[in-house]
Symmetry: C2
Subunit: 302 residues, 2 copies
């Protein structure tokens, strides 16, 4: 059976964009439940300043407590060389760097130009290579920018290629504001695939406008087989408070299994992991699959 690979970003990209912060123990318990459910690549922290991102405080401790587990990769976001050193100190096997395809977003989000961010990543990639640690790249705003609107496909391709050339083994293309629709998504991925091997591309879709599942389907049709998602849709849309952010992992597992693609994930266990973190955050689930499955279970029990 054909397989897709899911990169679970709930414990980082998700929790980072939730209003409440969770203690280290809860974050570790969440990740362990996600691993039990079958996820094999999980972003578990960010080595950034807790002054800017309080939700990620204690990421060192999260990584340390999780330790190593055969067949499972824990990754963490590192904004610069200093962050990478912290990640290496606690034994991270993989890290990620974060760039944007929009100058306006790069300036407001990471306080430098796109070119400056790429230069900042150069020593990070070199040091990671020496340490035997893989680096994943993110490109945000690939289908639109909350500040400048349209983002040219050529810009996305340029930044994607630059990250790949710097040494990122995989580049995840993020529709940060969820404005993309399937036609544009497919065209974008086909354009990126002319410059970077398809198996080095991943899709990262937000469900802000309800398009994420259709965009994933379009990316699949373009040949992409790696997708980021967040259990229970953790993580609002920071550019539209009150709106939805990351696509729920439950939806992608449901989609892929329906298409006959294996994920290695057990859906009921995943839904249970989502219920665990939702209770900790006192939030309703952001997953329609989780809601439907819970409603069905409730009906059958009644």
């Amino acid at each position: 059976m054909d397989a897709v690979r899911l990169v679970e970003v709930g414990a980082r990209d998700g929790l980072q964009n939730e209003p409440r912060s969770l203690p280290v123990a809860t974050r570790v318990a969440l990740v362990e439940r996600l691993v039990e459910a079958g996820l094999r690549t999980l972003e578990v922290g960010a080595f950034v300043s807790p002054r800017w991102v309080p939700q990620m405080a204690g990421s060192d401790e999260v990584v340390r407590q999780l330790g190593r587990r055969p067949g499972v990769t824990y990754t963490a976001l590192v904004p610069n060389l200093q962050g990478l050193e912290r990640a290496l100190a606690v034994g991270c096997q993989e890290v990620a760097v974060f760039a944007a395809a929009s100058e306006a977003f790069s300036q407001r989000n990471i306080n430098c130009s796109i070119a400056e961010s790429l230069e900042r990543f150069r020593p990070v990639l070199a040091r990671a290579r020496d340490a035997g640690v893989k680096v994943r790249g993110y490109v945000s705003c690939v289908l639109g920018c909350p500040f400048s609107g349209e983002v040219p496909v050529a810009e996305v391709v340029r930044v994607t290629r630059a990250l790949h050339e710097l040494g990122c083994y995989e580049v995840s293309l993020g529709d940060t504001i969820g404005r993309g629709t399937p036609g544009h998504t497919r065209a974008l991925l086909e354009a990126c695939a002319t410059e970077v091997p398809l198996d080095a591309l991943a899709g990262h879709f937000h469900d802000t406008y309800g398009m994420a599942v259709a965009n994933v389907q379009a990316a699949l049709e373009a040949g992409v087989r790696v997708f980021d998602s967040s259990v229970s849709g953790l993580g609002g849309c920071p550019y539209s408070p009150g709106a939805t952010g990351n696509v729920a992992t439950e939806e992608l597992v449901y989609l892929f299994h329906g298409l006959g693609l294996s994920t290695g994930v057990d859906l009921p266990s995943l839904v249970a992991a989502g219920a665990f973190v939702d209770q900790a955050l006192q939030r309703p689930t952001g997953s329609r699959v989780a809601r439907a499955m819970s409603a069905r279970a409730g009906r059958e029990a009644a």
Copy 2:
């Protein structure tokens, strides 16, 4: 520009599955707002017993008050000849009949076998033809049944063909429990299109598992150009209380415009119509597009 046709079912299929009933005046006001937003085919009532479906009480009055409007078609559901006579008495221009592709669902939902339901529709179609009224057919459970599980594609094709042969100008294929995924959706529509002309097929998707937009995209790829939807996602899933039902019209308009397909609908006006009915029902919107647009408008006003 290529066009798609939306059949707005919020005022019938939607309201019928909401726990609160709205008075005639509010339902008329909703339909008028939807027409203002650009919708041209709207299901506005059901000529069924108010003992069974209290939300549809006063459908006669709704149709009467709406009257006729050039270029706009108001339709209503009729379960049998008696219902049709009531629809004709108030001047309905179009009606719809409702069958199932699953025997278990047919028995539990309309209390007869599939064959009996088709026989019941035969005089309805004949009488409607004599009266110059078009009839639309619904087939429910096309991608699964809440009682019997899997539904064979051949059964869907058989019932679809039977309704078309009886005289339905269009047959709307309903994924009643929202369990379909894009591969099955596409295969189903391609199978139906071997027996019934493509332009006589419509797609009716529920978002219970978050798959509706992707299924619409798959149906588009199979050549379907008519889709049912419900403003603000009105209508829960009666078979999974607490879960989502009809796909929101806002999502489909957003999707189609993103794909370069014209709908004739003004999205902000549509979102406003949804906010109107949500307030009347005291429910949160079921549309992610509406939520994102409202959040954005709130941010810009702040």
